[in-house]
Subunit: 230 residues, 6 copies
């Protein structure tokens, strides 16, 4: 690992990011071809937040949050800070003071493959965090890592500037070069769902709406009237 | 595994189900002789819901929600859909559209040994789900499973038509043939607890109320005044 | 293991406990030299509670809550009950009736390295619990354990009378003999944070406020302008 | 749960069991339509054993091995003992003395959804065990369970007399009524594999042998020469 | 946490330790009243070793093995090094070089609530390790911890000088003051088992040998001939 | 995700790979600056293998091994196949037939973030596999993934052609462009260790050899003679 900070990164298209923030994780993940989703152990520290923004990335050492302090300076209005760790770690690398500092720079939220603390204060100040654990465990500032290099966070490779979308369903990462195309597909998918929702609410079966009966029969599905006929 | 849908199932007694829904999981689980409880990794996606209903069962493949669409047609007013999976899987097999479809048929909720998505929308429409994970991961419709065959869900074998009871404490399954007897025992247990609660609130010790002092002494428990006497 | 109940224990200083309850887990944990924190799998059953009190300790057998009934008698106004288990277990050893009994004696809350049930009722009566799991699984009363002996709970050794502090960030244990000293350090830490928070909110960087730039450079951190310079 | 021992059970066809023991878990699991496989946390305590036999089932309480002693009497030559537990538990319910007793009755091995101890002695006496954990934790004999009732073990419902097959790949359960049919399919599958193995060893690609190229193309798979063409 | 090294510790009785090493973990754990057993996630890096010795304890920081180097100097012939960690961590804090150093001082083995590496080399030099993980992850030497203070390792509180016993069944800790008494009980238990083993091998049922039939009947166990009688 | 196969990839330097295979994972991981190590849940299915080779990468769907068959054709003598999965999955995607096919092409081994089966046969044919689980669970061939695109496997981003090194300590990935430099550093590190090993074996303390006493004192470490002096 190079202990380095990259100052200039290219950020994902801001219109696409606006679309992602409006539509949320599940729709964007589908539009990206069902990829880019972080592992499900990453959870919001409180329910209800929905954000999107370009990633400023951090690679941290276990039990050491030095690089988070370094990363603050590299953040701009609208960014999302994304923290990977060189090994599994649940320590509370982030809390109220760092959030105050990020808030002052306009950062929208944090995604961290480690722990978070001061969760009540973070909720009170509406600073959303998606983390692997809630932990008061304090950290040292002893070993440098890196800022704005590619990091794996919760199973997804994140390049600096990629779009990060997070809500109650989890976190998805859209590679920068696919953002515009993905935003269009996501919007289309969203628009199509309204019609489906109305049909389903009216009692139309998905079996019929999606025309599944024939492929199911071809795949070998049988209907029997009673359990003893199985 | 047979890829089959059983159309006719016998549903658990509706009066018993009404009692279960009123009394909740912990009481019903005790009344059943402390059995039938699903594993604790199954959690409600939001707090506060309490339901009971006969099970319509689904056996699904990992990453594939085809059978959930098939199962909708087999559901009736008051049912609870129960989904097992042929292998450990946390993908988001269920979301707002399927919930809209189930709601249209009067289904009370979902118990799924896999993932769920659109959790904010599900909360907004008051459709309760108990799941193993929250995950936006989309699924395919490629391999059939089965509907209304016995499935193991979160460690419990569920036969179609068994009573499923779910609340903030978890999910318990009452075999259909034991429902009436269990409902009576649950009601009795519930009625007995009021008196106990009042005594305990008044400061009576459980040691005395339950007459535990003598059996504890027989089991070898000693009292000493100070740590150094241990 | 000795099956014994110790009647007389020395409780941690009550002023220190008052300070701990006001300042919360993260601050106290730092003041104690970043030690004493229970594992992060221990979570509050509902958000928002913050308590501190001297520990009455219980060592329980798996699936057996007999000793919790025994322990109630040893509790006083302001205590916190702490339950360890001789082996990993998630059964619902604690629920509404035991909480009613503890409430009658003025106990502030429960920390249990096992499961808890009746969580909605506990929330309604404002009796906070930090547990490893939520589980309706009922327990037997068959094998004695011990009360007021040292127990390991969620990775921390707890002596009877130690101060236990719990909030949304987790649970920390302060050994009785360090309580007064730790309370002073915690208060000082808390007071110092106000100034830092104001500076950070005003946009001062932690890099400058904590004077990190020089040590980072010594530790080998480099800044480059572009990714290709890495 | 009924605290009961069922004395007479019907055991799976012995010829089918012989076939299962010869062919092993993966082949049998495929022949059964890819079902009946226990969860992967169940592991052999030593490598190399491969057994099959009709199940004698036990439902045990956490930390309590009383029912294993009861079950010994119900076992016959060639049986496999299968132990489920009313809740997650890793205690060492089984060790050298119980193995000596089962060996005296001709039992082939043990499958237990809990812990096992004395693993070196068990290896020395060639008594194979598939367990969830290795643990020296001793257990009590305080609360009855049941013998020869259906039990869920590591995610699979096992009826008394079902065929249990276990080897280094895991454990699979074949329902009694499907044993003969499944044995035939397993044998056929095994016989077919020899030809495939020879072709593959000679360098024939599975893509060609299984005629996958056309369906892959239909499913949308593209070939490109270089990464930048993606 | 105090960053301190305690030079003089009292070591457990050497005769008792000899008995523990001969009898192994399961017997000693029973003799201690079924307590003191470390969690089951701690596993030997290779099978077959069986050791006992007084504990030299280390409290380490996550990702930092500095204190292990410090601890070497405090070790004597026959000791067992026991390493706890201030937070969950699986990094490879220990490998061939440290083992070479410990071997030079006559240390029998290592018990570490973190990771171990160079496992093939350690096996070749017959230096046994019980660890939470096998991991090549390198560690820093940046933050001091402590040596010969009480540490919690894999769920057990270990005081310096306590007897540590480890084999394929796990690791048990006997408090120094209970060693002599526990060694006597363990020897007696071991001697008694020979007779039982012979009876069981001859086909005597545990039900009869342990006289369980009457207490089982009192506890409510029923025998029925057929499944439909349940 | 693009469903694509990239035919031409650039493979890491073969001399560097030879060095990596000779030195093993721990040394290479250190030489790379302590990065690139896969998570510790990835374990060899049998002990003793040590390999290195350029990665041919596969992105597979849960429960679906179609892409592994596709990937075989892209493999050359000396390659290592690396399989990531779009979601957590433990199914047995790989077994004896695929190994036969890979062996015919000269592939050295497999690293898979999912399950493996036929482990005894794989051991017999000396085909090493590092996997997340051992599972007989069969898989379908229904949904395409990708071959030779970047994949995250067990927490590490792997580009096609990167060097993969695997032994009993785990799996490390060296980015192609750093291979030559890393091989030199690894060789140097290895050469330096011989001298250290000899000194330590002769009883020299690491404290002295590494000159740690002064920095430890500066970091605040104190020595006391007796526990009561803490």
């Amino acid at each position: 690992m190079k202990t380095v900070v990259v100052r200039n990164i290219q950020r994902a298209d801001s219109n696409a990011i606006g679309t992602f923030e409006a539509l949320g994780v599940s729709t964007v993940h589908e539009a990206l071809g069902r990829s880019g989703l972080m592992k499900t152990y990453l959870r919001p520290i409180y329910a209800g937040a929905q954000i999107a923004g370009p990633a400023v990335t951090v690679l941290a050492q276990p039990g050491d949050n030095w690089m988070l302090h370094v990363a603050v300076e590299q953040c701009r209005q609208g960014d999302v800070l994304v923290v990977g760790c060189t090994t599994d770690n649940t320590d509370g690398m982030f809390g109220e003071l760092l959030a105050t500092s990020l808030r002052a720079r306009g950062v929208k939220g944090l995604v961290i493959d480690a722990g978070c603390r001061d969760v009540r204060a973070l909720h009170d100040m509406d600073f959303p965090v998606w983390s692997k654990a809630i932990s008061a465990k304090g950290t040292v500032k002893a070993t440098p890592g890196a800022v704005n290099v590619p990091v794996v966070c919760a199973g997804v490779n994140v390049e600096p500037g990629d779009a990060v979308v997070a809500d109650d369903d989890g976190v998805v990462v859209v590679p920068r070069k696919y953002c515009v195309e993905t935003a269009q597909k996501a919007q289309k998918r969203h628009d199509d769902e309204d019609g489906k929702r109305q049909q389903l609410a009216a009692g139309v079966l998905g079996l019929d709406m999606y025309k599944m009966r024939e492929p199911l029969e071809k795949a070998g599905l049988r209907y029997v009237d009673n359990p003893e006929d199985v």
